[in-house]
Amino acid sequence: MKIGMVSPYAWDVPGGVQAHVKDLANHFLAEGHDVSVLAPALDEEAVAEEFVVSAGRPVAIPYNGAVARVLFGPVAATRVRQWIARNEFDVMHLHEPAIPSLSLLACSIAEGPMVGTFHVAAPRQKVAFAIAPLLEPVIEKLRARIAVSEVARETLTIHLDTDAVVIPNGIDTSFFASANVNPEWKREFTIGFLGRFSEPRKGLNVLMEAVPNLTRAIPNLRVLIAGPGEGLEVMQALNPSLRNRIVFLGRLSEEDKASFLKSVDLYVAPNTGGESFGIILAEAMAAGAAIVASDLPAFESVLGYGKYGLTFTNGDANHLAKQIIKIAKDQKAIADLREQAELGAMKFDWKTVGPEIMNVYQHAQGESEKVTVGSEPRTWLRFLSREDRGELS
C-alpha cells in the first residue's frame, strides 16, 4: 500500500507526534509498504530519513504549555499539492489535523481516502478549538478518525462533535525490555523522574515537595532526575540537608532512557496536566518499571486503572509520598508490579498497534481510489453530475 503521512510539527525538533509518525512510518516500511512523510523542517539538510519530504521552515508559536513549530501559507500549500500529485497515495494519514498547520492544509487540499489521528487532549483549552466551525468542513473529509486515548477522543467529541476509534500510540517494547541495568542507577533506593522538568506541567515540584516526607521513611533514598534543564532552581528551593539526595542526569539518549527506566526502583510521573496519552508510562511499563503516577485520566488508562502501576491524587505531594512509602517497603509488591507492567505493555507494541492502524486504512480506502488534489473545475463537474449518482445505502 502506498501511504502518505503528514506531520504538523517540525521533523527535526523532538516531540511526541513526530516520534509517533517516525516509528509508524518505519513500521510500515519494514512491512513492505511504500511510505512518504511530509513534514516541516528547520533545516532540510539535517533530515536524515530518506522517506521524509520537507515542506519548508515552520514558525514557532506557544501552544499547550510548550512551543509548537507549525507551518502554513501559500508556499507550503504548493509543496503539499506537488507532493500529493506526484505520489498518488492509496491512503493519506494526517496527524493532528485540527491544529492549524501542515496536516490541516493537506486535508483541505486533498480529496480521497484520508485518515486523521488526534493526539491532543485539551478538554478545557477552548482557544485551540475556537476555529472549530471553520474546521468542520475540512475535518469532515476524513474517512476515519483515530484518537490516541479516551481523553483525546473526548476532546474530539466535545470540540469537533465527531467520534473516533481509539488506538494507542505504539512503542517498541523489546527495545525497553532488553535494556541494560546500570548499577549506578540502582544503588540505594532510587526514584526516577524523566522529562523537561522546567515545565510546571511535568510536576517535578510535586515530587520535590514529597522528598522531606520520603527521606524520613526511606533513609537511603536517591532521586534521579533526567531531562534537559537547569537544576539550580530546583536545588535552591530544597532544604540544604536534602540536596545530596538529588542527582541530575541531564538529557539522556534513547538507550540510556531505556536503561534508566529499567534500573530505577520506582519510576514517578507526577505530571499535573496536558498529557493526552503518556507514552513515557508505556515505555516505563515495557522496561518493567514499578510506576507511581498522578491520576490524570490518560495515565489511569495506560496503567490499566491500577493494574500496571499505582496512582496518586494529582498535585497532592502527601498522597504521592504515602503511595511511594507503601510500596517501597514491600519488595514483593514491587516485583509483582514490574511483572504486570511488562505484560501490560504488550498492547502498546507496534506489533499490536500497527495492524490496528492498517485496518483503519483499509476501511478508509474505497475501491481503487487514490488521494488527489481537489480542484475547482472538478467540484463543478461533480456538482453537475450528482443527479445521476447511484443509490446510497
Binding site: 485496518n359 450528482r386 445505502s393
Partner: protein
Amino acid sequence: MSEFIIGLLITLAFIWYLTFSANRLDRLHHRVETSWANLDSILQRRAALAGEIAHLNEVDPATNLLLTSAAHQARDAEISERSEAESGLSEALKLLRQESDIPELYPEIFSELDSITDRLRTAIAIHQESVTATRKRREKLIIRAFRLAGRAPLPITYPFEDDVL
C-alpha cells in the same frame, strides 16, 4: 451602480456557498458509501465463515440448522433489518463459543472469527460516525431548502448491541 456590484457579489458568494455545501454533502455521501461497503464485506465474510463452522463434523444438527439459518437471514436481510439479522448471527456464534468445545478443536477458524469480529467493531464505529455526520448535515436548512441532497436516500444507521459481538 455600486448597489448592482454589491448585489452581484452577494449573489456570487451565495452561489459559491451553495456549490460548497453541495460538494460537502456529496463527499459525505461518498464517505457513507465507502464505510458501508467495508462493513458489508466484513459481514459477508463473517456469514460465510459461520456457514463453514456450521458444516464442521462435530457440530450437532440442531446447532447446524441454527447457524445456517442465522447466516442466511443475515445475508438476505434488507438493509434496514440488517443489524437485527446480524445480531442473531452474533448470538448464535456466541452460544456455540460458550457451550461447546468446538472452538478448541478448530483454533484456526475461530481465531479468524476473532479477527473478523475485531474488524467488525471498527467498521461499525466508522460507519456509524459517517452516517451521523451525513444525517446531521442533511438537516441543515440550506440543504433542505435547495434540495442539495438530490435523490440520494437518507443513510440508515446500523444500530447494534455491543455485548453480542
